[in-house]
């Protein structure tokens, strides 16, 4: 394979503690190596540019049935933005729900190498994997949803952690999944009964279990198995004014647990898109709403076993989609646009609604402020990750814009003064106006690479330029000696939108800003061995016979077709 020597770039690697030093980075046979290991490398002159490990996205909705529903029912999302095939690139289209091809290309253009699909309905795992397979370049994995699954609810009601764990291990194997996603714990199932779980203590009808018990049970099962990633939760009452108390209650469920795994992960709970969960007040108006980002971060900053991602609202027209069925129904009654809902038998549900975060409305601006505040109040940037909950709060292609807002107070002031109609009300009801902090490139590297790689249990492969890591290197046209974030914030956004080079798995994928290869994408999944568990096996057979509309034999995602290029992470939980 090719050898590359990336010379004289400003290197940022939080794992190695490199903070903008001029260094040479060497890639050989798909891995990062010492520069002395090269024999005849292709040299890349990175002088005046920023060099980082390729980005790692901890949470995005990029593949599967609900994304496909979004694409199908929003033809207008592709209007006037499709580009024909050119060179090795195939036709791409779409903005908030882009085609699989554009998804891969756009992540590559931003210098990303790994993306976690954040919610896989197990019954439709095949669909998820087909789309992952068709997304070029980036390595991907998917988190099956467990928080409303009948097996899980029944086992956890009886406090059967071992059985829950055995079921999870079985499901990860048959769906080729990566870890445990927990969306609106109990609430989506309750919605099947016309109800919801609005706090962690609301009881799920029939199953008689609370969200708090589901969250703790899934943390215990996760650590029982020792999975690479921790329990990944989207808490109850997403988007509701005043929900920050529910969020604090959700986060508190992690107290007393420590991570047990062989992957270098030291946290037990990842709370996703925390922005949607940090609201105070009683309504969405400027008189009734307030940011509670500070209160939430006061708690998070004191904990050492919690991570979160931001979910920044980017003020775009986008497409919301989540396994939180009741929330989408609620949203469709607020904006009166299209609404799609799918129930997935025994397992989960999903809803899809287009949404415009209008900068002329108070609430969209306030939501924007809350997301940015969380990033600015965070103390440990290795536990704080940049996302937009793509496409819920905005498309992933806005990450560079989020970086700009985090790095430049001037850019935030510009928003409050010029772009947002209710800048003054937002200053009064949110904290954004009083925060001076500007994040550094080192901190951005923690939030977009080293940190997410660590919480996913993949720090041995991604997020660093340490010899032995995957040969995933992004080079951005950003000269930290020449650019002043307070004066030229636009240059930050431009640089992180258009990586000059991306080397993925040792292969040149982006060259001088152009996609030159479709790469060799892999699907990561976790094969977890547990000891024989006849009860769980019997329960699975029973449920398939009694309830499922498919047979057990037709449920499994067969590897050769759906996952043609797997990377399997073995976990032995049989002891």
């Amino acid at each position: 394979m090719a050898e590359y020597l990336i010379r004289n770039g400003f290197v940022y690697d939080p794992v190695l503690g490199i903070d903008g030093d001029k260094k040479d980075i060497a890639v050989k046979d798909g891995k990062i190596v010492e520069t002395t290991a090269l024999s005849k490398p292709t040299e890349i002159n990175a002088a005046g540019m920023t060099v980082m490990a390729a980005g790692v996205d901890v949470h995005a909705h990029v593949a599967g049935p609900k994304v496909c529903v979004g694409r199908n029912f929003r033809p207008e999302d592709k209007l006037f933005n499709s580009t024909p095939q050119a060179g090795i690139k195939r036709m791409e289209g779409g903005f908030s729900v882009p085609t699989t091809l554009r998804t891969g290309y756009n992540y590559a253009r931003m210098g990303y190498g790994f993306v976690m699909e954040a919610a896989m309905p197990p019954l439709f795992a095949r669909h998820v994997h087909e789309e992952i397979r068709d997304t070029p370049i980036i390595d991907e994995a998917a988190l099956p949803v467990f928080g409303n699954n009948w097996f899980v609810l029944e086992y956890l009601k009886n406090k059967e952690i071992e059985n829950t764990a055995a079921y999870i291990a079985w499901l990860l194997r048959v769906t080729k999944g990566f870890g445990i996603k927990n969306v609106n714990p109990g609430g989506t199932e309750a919605w099947g009964w016309g109800m919801n779980c609005e706090t962690v203590n609301d009881v799920v009808p029939y199953f008689e279990i609370t969200p708090a018990e589901i969250i703790r049970g899934l943390i215990e099962a996760n650590e029982y198995l020792g999975l690479p990633h921790c329990m990944h939760v989207h808490g109850n009452s997403l988007g509701e004014p005043g929900n920050y108390t529910v969020t604090l209650d959700t986060l508190k469920q992690a107290e007393g647990y420590t991570a047990k795994n062989d992957f270098g992960r030291d946290t037990v709970l990842h709370h996703t898109h925390l922005q949607f969960h940090s609201y105070g007040g009683t309504s969405y108006s400027s008189k009734g709403f307030e940011s509670k980002s500070k209160e939430v971060m006061d708690y998070v900053n004191k904990q050492d076993n919690i991570t979160f991602d931001l979910g920044v609202v980017t003020l775009d027209e986008t497409t919301t989609m989540t396994a939180d069925g009741p929330f989408e129904h609620h949203l469709s009654h607020m904006n009166h646009l299209k609404w799609a809902n799918v129930d997935v038998e025994l397992e989960t549900a999903a809803g899809v609604v287009p949404f415009i975060y209008n900068p002329k409305s108070y609430i969209a601006g306030a939501q924007w402020a809350v997301g940015i505040e969380l990033g600015l109040y965070a103390k440990d940037m290795m536990k704080t990750y940049i996302t937009t909950d793509h496409p819920n709060a905005g498309p992933f292609t806005r990450y560079p814009r989020v970086i700009k807002w985090l790095m430049s107070r001037a850019a935030r002031e510009h928003m409050l003064e010029k772009e947002l109609k209710y800048g003054d009300s937002i200053r009064n009801t949110c904290y954004i106006g009083e925060i001076d902090r500007e994040l550094t490139l080192f901190e951005i590297a923690q939030m977009t690479r080293a940190g997410p790689a660590k919480v996913l249990g993949l720090s041995h492969m991604f997020g660093s330029l340490r010899p032995g890591c995957e040969g995933d290197v992004a080079i951005y046209p950003y000269n930290p000696e020449a650019i002043d974030p307070s004066r030229d914030p636009e240059l930050i956004e431009r640089a992180f939108s258009t990586a000059q080079y991306l080397i993925k798995g040792g292969e040149m994928v982006v060259k001088e800003g152009d996609i030159v290869s479709n790469g060799s994408k892999r699907t990561f999944w976790v094969d977890c061995t547990t000891s024989e568990n006849p009860q769980v096996q019997r329960d699975i057979s029973e449920k398939f016979k009694r309830y499922y509309s498919v047979t057990e034999a037709n449920y499994e995602v067969s590897g050769h077709h759906y996952v043609p290029n797997p990377y399997v992470i073995e976990v032995d939980a049989s002891q």
Binding site: F73, R74, P75, E76, D77, L79, H336, L337, K338
Partner: protein, 266 residues
């Protein structure tokens, strides 16, 4: 005002996609430059000059540019798409998407036009002497933003689904329409001088539909309120006012529920 005249010289084998025929694109260009603009037939890119003889030259800006299509354009789509100013005269017929997403200016068609004219338009005028096809002043497929401003005037009949998701502006039809008028309408005004078939104002939230002739089958979601005298497009008459669609959600303004208004002439 400088005029560019396009004279058809060849009938395209497939429909010609000619979204470059607008005053905005032509502005500042010579006849030779205009002839060199691209058009598509299927997936093949060709030149405007392959299909039209170009004479005259454009003004410096769109507002100073007139375009005349001196002949039949029944197989030419997207004439005047996204235009912001200036005017276009088509002496024959035109194909689909005339003046789609138009912002301003004026398009006059002496013959008839096909479907999707004025899709999502926000301003300007489309004047058609003949008939119009389906989805006049409607929203793009999937979108909820139909015609939002401007005027569409059709001398003859219109097809089905006119003003779907209309939010503003005015559509005046001299003759009759087919089914589905003002479906999901949220503003603006549709005037039909002739008859409508059925499904008029289905799921209508706000706005007005005024029918001078008959509605073959009324929607059950409209309720008679009272009689009103109106002057519409230069003629005075007494109309029965119906409000609806009562099956749809309706906003409240100053304490009153706002309905869609359907006026039917006695």
């Amino acid at each position: 005002m400088a005029t560019v005249t396009l004279t058809p010289k060849k009938v395209p084998s497939l429909r010609l996609e000619a979204d470059n025929i607008t005053p905005d694109v032509f502005a500042g260009k010579s006849a030779a430059e205009i002839a060199g603009l691209h058009v598509f037939t299927g997936n093949t890119q060709e030149l405007l000059g392959d299909y039209f003889t170009v004479a005259g030259s454009a003004g410096a800006t769109a507002a100073e540019t007139s375009i005349v299509i001196d002949g039949d354009a029944s197989r030419v789509k997207y004439i005047g798409m996204k235009m912001s100013a200036g005017d276009i005269l088509v002496k024959g017929n035109a194909d689909m998407y005339v003046g789609a997403w138009m912002l301003g200016g004026k398009i006059t068609v002496k013959g008839s036009i096909d479907a999707f004219a004025g899709t999502g338009m926000t301003g300007g005028e489309i004047i058609v002497d003949g008939d119009a096809g389906n989805y006049l002043g409607a929203a793009y497929r999937g979108d909820w933003r139909g015609m939002q401003g401007g005027l569409i005037r059709v001398g003859g009949n219109a097809g089905s689904d006119i003003g779907t998701f209309m939010r503003g502006g005015e559509i005046i039809i001299g003759g009759n329409t087919d089914v589905h008028v003002g479906t999901h309408q949220e503003g603006g005004r549709i005037v039909v001088k002739g008859d409508c078939k059925s499904k008029v104002g289905g799921q209508m939230v706000e706005g007005e539909i005024i029918v001078f002739g008959d509605i073959e089958v009324m929607m059950p979601g409209f309720q008679y309120r009272n009689d009103v005298d109106l002057e519409v497009d230069g003629s005075e008459a007494t109309f029965a006012l119906y409000e609806g669609d009562v099956g749809e959600r309706h906003p409240k303004r100053k304490g009153d529920v706002v309905f869609g208004k359907l006026y039917l002439k006695y």
